[in-house]
Symmetry: C2
């Protein structure tokens, strides 16, 4: 499979653009064709070396591509995969880069069953844990996936060869690849990614603007992701609603324990809770 | 006053060490004498150029110093200022770098009234907003205060000349200086500094260790300060208890609004709340 003859990227933003840059800089693909809503962004991606060509239609983009990566916003992925599947070459493998998985994978499974995809066309979900509050091909980087984790989410019908193909693909871009079911992915990411966003938004939103001159590194780090794209995050949160609600409640319990220890001036308990947090944080490093 | 003839620093950690380094690198003081619990740390500070001499006793440290800066942990500051005041030269000005102010300033006011300080010795509280999760003279930097805010907290009896002296002092180190009452300081900092620490600790503490491989930049930024020193933060939170409890409740209200919008799948409300957070965050920059 490697080097790929032709890879198509649908949605050439930070993630899609970084995939293209990494593929071409590392000589992993002969042709990388991109398609997206903004012509200016596509041209920028091409100028930056993230694409060898841009396409005006899905048909042209996916024709002859053996791998298609859908990198559009979460609420759009299932529809885009369905459009891609209608037009792509027999035996093409489609994947995505969405931050949630269960709803997307289920929707795609239902459309595939309802509309009969071309022979041998398959979809396997994926999620590179390599976001940023920055957006667009302008911020794409060939090294975005180096030492990052990519979660591939096979379902019962997924063939082992397709999982192996995606493992090879992401590994070649420098990432570590792990497998999870779509449901497990959404449970884990609710706590490690979606909850932090909600918490950062609550913290930023609870800060009076007139107090901003009295913030320092702590507030700035803790709220950084609240500066991220609203529409993107609204879609992610709604798409993983039940898990995120559970994660908020779990977090609130923990906050309640800290509040109670402080309220009662229980010095030892406060120390214990701060110590447990520090231990988790330091288990990760930097 | 500038250059200072002799400045004494009590507690030569990240803040105290950085003050010493900045004073000496900028030729703002002829002599900077440090005193602290750890002889190894004091020697390191001296080797790094943060001190011209180390002292074995408070008496020796403060003799002849016209400015003494107490940079010990919050729970210790009032006692250390009292010890300094007993031994320092007539007309010396004492300040501190503690992260909370009202309790400290009140305790010092009571000790001063009870024990009669030497003629002309005064204390005015201060707080440079330039912390870090790093500690010790090893991490001290001559530029730690450049473009940072220092809050000086005069009380009714404070003379304008002393406020001016502290303004000059911190400005010479590159900082912006603002004045607030100790009570106002503690209210504002509860929201901009102490609350973020509690929130980061709750978030880190709510994360299962086995999920850490699935965190990315968002979780890492949002929890960074939870890796900070436990004892230091326990003291800060307890010293500003009522304000921090109020800030937690205000934050929880905001989190509850986000939770409710998500629970009801109120897309427009979710967008509004995320948008308000983004606006506050982006009003600050980086």
């Amino acid at each position: 499979m490697i080097p790929w003859n032709k890879v198509a990227i649908v949605g050439v933003g930070l993630i899609g653009g970084s995939i293209g840059l990494a593929l071409l800089r590392r000589n992993l693909a002969r042709e990388v064709v991109g398609i997206g809503r903004s012509e200016a962004n596509l041209q920028l991606a091409r100028q930056r070396g993230a694409l060898t060509a841009t396409a005006q239609s899905i048909e042209a983009a996916v024709a002859g591509a053996s791998l298609i990566i859908v990198c559009t916003p979460v609420a759009q992925i299932a529809r885009d995969v369905q459009r891609v599947a209608q037009h792509c070459t027999a035996d093409a493998l489609i994947t995505d880069a969405g931050s949630t998985k269960l709803e997307i994978v289920q929707q795609i499974g239902r459309s595939a069953a309802a509309s009969r995809w071309p022979a041998g066309v398959r979809f396997v979900g994926g999620h590179p844990l390599a976001g940023s509050e920055k957006r667009g091909a302008a911020h794409a980087s060939a090294d975005l996936f180096v030492d990052r984790t990519v979660i591939v989410t096979p379902v019962e019908e997924t063939g082992a060869a397709d999982v192996a193909t995606l493992r090879d693909f992401w590994s070649a871009l420098g990432a570590r690849v792990v497998e999870m079911s779509p449901a497990q992915h959404d449970q884990v990411l609710a706590r490690t990614s979606h909850l932090p966003h909600v918490v950062a938004a609550a913290l930023a939103g609870a800060t009076p603007v007139e107090s901003l001159p009295y913030t320092a590194g702590g507030w700035q780090d803790t709220t950084r992701i609240a500066g991220g794209d609203i529409e993107l995050w609204r879609q992610i949160l709604l798409s993983n609603r039940a898990n995120v609600l559970g994660a908020i409640d779990h977090f609130s319990d923990r906050l309640g324990q800290l509040r109670s220890a402080l309220d009662r001036a229980e010095s030892a308990q406060l120390e214990k809770l701060l110590g447990e947090a520090r231990q988790v944080r330091n288990a990760l490093g930097s």
